[in-house]
């Protein structure tokens, strides 16, 4: 019987994989992919708690919001990456360290 903690473990694994991707990747697109994973893990968590909790529709709506937000975020982040490329001719984050204090 698949229980709630199995789902939660799955979402935790996805979350950790996402964080790992963000931290280790030098490529901006890779970091973007990692954040998508983190967002989806969070959305999965919300749906899980909604399903095993009070069974209302609210959690599904939150999940939908998260997906929409992720899409918007992806659009903005791709635009940022594109501008980054135009300015530095690279999207490697170790090369673009202009904010260093």
């Amino acid at each position: 019987m698949i229980q709630m903690q199995h789902f939660l473990m799955m979402s935790a694994v996805i979350f950790v994989l996402g964080i790992y991707t963000v931290v280790t990747r030098k490529n901006v697109l890779g970091i973007l992919l990692g954040t998508e994973l983190v967002l989806n893990a969070a959305a999965l968590n919300i749906v899980i708690f909604g399903f095993y909790g009070n069974q209302t529709i609210e959690s599904s709506i939150y999940a939908l919001f998260v997906i929409v937000l992720a899409a918007a975020e992806a659009a903005v982040a791709l635009a940022v990456g594109l501008t980054l490329y135009q300015n530095f001719k690279t999207i490697d984050t170790t090369e673009t360290r202009e904010l260093k204090g």
Partner: protein, 705 residues
């Protein structure tokens, strides 16, 4: 009920508004001041409104019970410090009503006259601005119900006098004359202020601190017997105030500014330096008659100075050739008569002469202005002559005013001057000194008749320019417009606006005296002395007045009247005879007594004596003080400067080494800390995320444990 009394504030306000409109226009160069019609319309309307209200006030007062003809309109409290209370309040009583009527009435005529006289002048608007301001200040002076208001007006008219004497300031002597008038007046004002302070201080000590005239009148008897340094306080106050009056009203020894004041435009000479402002001193004594009545010593001083001035100035008039200078000395002399009257305790007679003098002297001055304009700015009488033919209206009015000033029956001057002389003679019964003063007065009256008819004869009789050869080539006198080429023009009569004022003033000079017919003459026809009855409530307490029942007229009064008219007629005839038929006589006199003539012609060298005694010494003291300043005061200042410089050097050293060191230490340590910490900012986003994740993990571990 009493509409005009309740709205008495309109009287000074109207000229003030006129002043503001024209003055702002001049100041801001608004376009409307270019329109002469607008400017003189505003100025004349302002003063005319004031005149209408003054007449209204007069009739309102006439409708009241004679014993209570006094009305105070308080607008608002002005100064209230400790026990001192001064209000902006206007006092309407018979005395101030007379003054208001003179100022606004004669003032209005002179405004109208100025339209013609000044019409070519570029400073037209400025002239009317000053004129309105003067009327405002003068009205404040006579209408104020306390000494402060009087003093404000007193200074205000002094300012306007200064501005108007120096009206043509581009020409330096005019500006100098203005300054002279102002400075001489300041000397008088200094004594005047001390007198005021003394009076107030002693009233304060008596527990009645007041500056209002009514309050002083009620409490002044408390000061009787008080002494300051062995001198009666009231006499001292009276004399100090009188010194102020000698400045404003041009008496010995401070009269020297008035002849120089003739540098101003002629309407100004008529209004300020003949009819109104110079009478401020007489008004002040009349207003404070209750003080003077308690100080007979001060009255003797006033009478003596008045009589001396009357005689002294009259003699200077003999040898002057500038028509305005003759009138100026005549004014000084007539003011002397007023003070003689005041000093005799005959306040009514003094104020009466003030009024009639305002009429005929304004008329004479305006007439001389008309002559000057007709002669194309010529003031030397030796270049005139025969103007009767060219300027008939000016001639007639000038002649009538001259007869009035000479004191010939029944013209205005006769009644007022004769009353003063009679009261002086009457006082001789108590104090023989007054007989001497009377003698001086009679001599002065003879002199008046002589020099005035001399002026008439030289100006209007004979032929034009017949005396021009008498002018020595080296004495080119500068008139109000500065030196200029004398070209030959035909004299012409002046415009209507000028002759209108002349005619009205001439009529007043003729009939103006009839309001004050003395009892000695009036009782034959049962005509009362309106003027004396009118002023009686104001001077009720004064000695020599108010004894209402003169039933027995001493024969000697008639004798004196006949005597004075006779000598006036005789000297007048003599003057006309000498200056028309025996023109050689004056010249022979001059060659016979050259020194005497020179002495009189040079005005007894009083200006020069003042220059040597006062002005030069003052300048010397100034130089001494300057030296003191440079050596001693500057030495102290420099020493103080050195000390401060040294101490600041010490302070600077401490600052640089100690205070700055500490401040720098704080700053350096902070920048050191910043330099160390900035290494944490790598610019790699992942590094930050590492730290965030590490923190989360640490938190989780801490929670789990």
């Amino acid at each position: 009920m009493h509409f005009f009394l309740e709205n008495i504030w309109v009287i000074p306000l109207a000229p003030l508004i006129g002043f503001l409109i024209n003055g702002l226009g001049c100041f801001l160069r608004l376009p409307y001041v270019k329109s002469r019609k607008f400017v003189h319309f505003v100025a004349c309307t302002a003063i005319f409104v004031a005149f209408v209200f003054a007449v209204g006030v007069f009739f309102d007062l006439l409708g009241m019970d004679p014993a209570h003809r006094s009305f105070t309109k308080t607008l608002y409290p002005w100064i209230s410090i400790g026990s001192l209370e001064a209000n902006v309040a206007f006092l309407a009583d018979p005395l101030s009503a007379v003054m208001m009527l003179i100022i606004t009435g004669v003032g209005f005529l002179i405004h109208v006259y100025s339209i013609g006289y000044m019409h070519e002048d570029p400073g037209f608007a400025r002239f009317f601005t000053y004129l309105n301001l003067f009327c405002f200040a003068m009205l404040l002076l006579v209408m104020g119900d306390n000494i402060f208001m009087l003093f404000i007006g007193w200074e205000g008219v002094g300012l306007c006098s200064y501005l108007l004497i120096g009206f043509w300031y581009e020409h330096k002597p005019n500006a100098v004359a203005g300054m002279k008038a102002f400075i001489v007046n300041r000397i008088g004002d200094f004594a005047f202020l001390i007198g005021l302070f003394l009076l107030f201080w002693f009233l304060y000590q008596q527990g009645h601190p007041t500056v209002a005239f009514s309050g002083i009148q009620e409490n002044v008897h408390l000061l009787e017997g008080a002494k300051v340094g062995g001198i009666s306080l009231l006499a001292l106050v009276g004399i100090l105030l009188f010194i102020g009056a000698t400045g404003k009203s041009a008496q010995i020894p401070l009269y020297v500014w008035l002849p120089d004041a003739m540098a101003g435009p002629t309407p100004v000479s008529a209004l300020i330096h003949a009819a109104t402002m110079v009478t401020a001193g007489i008004y002040m004594i009349g207003r404070l008659n209750f003080v003077y009545s308690l100080a007979p010593e001060a009255l003797v001083v006033v009478a003596t100075v008045g009589a001396l001035t009357a005689l002294f100035a009259a003699t200077i008039g003999f040898a002057q050739n500038d028509i305005k200078k003759v009138l100026a000395y005549s004014t000084v002399s007539q003011l002397g008569y007023m003070f003689l009257g005041m000093g005799t305790g005959a306040y009514t007679a003094g104020i009466f002469h003030l009024m009639t003098h305002a009429f005929f002297k304004a008329c004479l001055f305006l007439g001389s202005g008309s002559v000057i304009l007709g002669m194309h700015h010529e003031q030397d009488m030796r270049r005139m002559g025969g103007l009767k033919k060219y300027m008939p209206v000016t001639y007639m009015t000038f002649l009538l005013a001259t007869i009035a000033i000479a004191g010939i029956f029944p013209f205005a001057g006769f009644f007022s001057k004769d009353e003063i002389l009679w009261k002086t003679f009457e006082s001789g019964g108590h104090q023989y000194w007054y007989y001497v003063l009377w003698g001086m007065g009679v001599l002065g009256a003879m002199g008046t008749a002589f020099y005035m008819f001399r002026a008439v004869a030289m100006t209007f009789f004979g032929k034009l320019g017949e005396r021009a050869h008498e002018i020595a080539p080296n004495e080119v006198e500068e008139d109000e417009h500065g030196p200029h080429q004398h070209e030959h023009h035909t004299p012409h009569e002046s415009p209507k606006s000028m002759t209108f004022a002349l005619v009205v003033l001439a009529i007043l000079s003729v009939v103006g005296g009839l309001v004050g017919i003395p009892y000695a003459l009036g009782h034959f026809f049962h005509i009362p002395n309106f003027f004396e009855e009118w002023l009686a409530p104001v001077f009720a307490g004064a000695h020599g007045e108010g004894h209402g029942a003169h039933h027995d007229v001493p024969v000697i009064e008639y004798m004196l009247m006949v005597f004075s008219v006779a000598i006036a007629l005789a000297t007048s005839a003599l003057a006309v005879y000498i200056y028309t038929k025996r023109k050689d006589l004056p010249a022979r006199f001059v060659t016979r007594f050259p020194r005497l003539h020179r002495l009189v012609h040079e005005k007894y060298y009083v200006d020069e004596i003042y220059q040597v005694l006062v002005v030069n010494n003052l300048l010397r003291i100034n130089q001494l003080l300057a030296l003191f300043d440079q050596k001693v005061v500057d030495g102290f200042v420099n020493f103080a400067g050195t000390v401060v410089r040294f101490s600041s050097k010490v302070a600077g050293f401490t600052d640089n080494r100690w205070v700055d060191g500490f401040v720098n230490l704080v700053g350096n340590s902070i920048s050191f800390a910043g330099a160390s910490l900035r290494k944490a900012q790598t610019g790699l986003v992942q590094n930050y995320l590492y730290i965030a994740v590490a923190g989360v993990i640490a938190l989780m571990i801490w929670r789990l444990l």
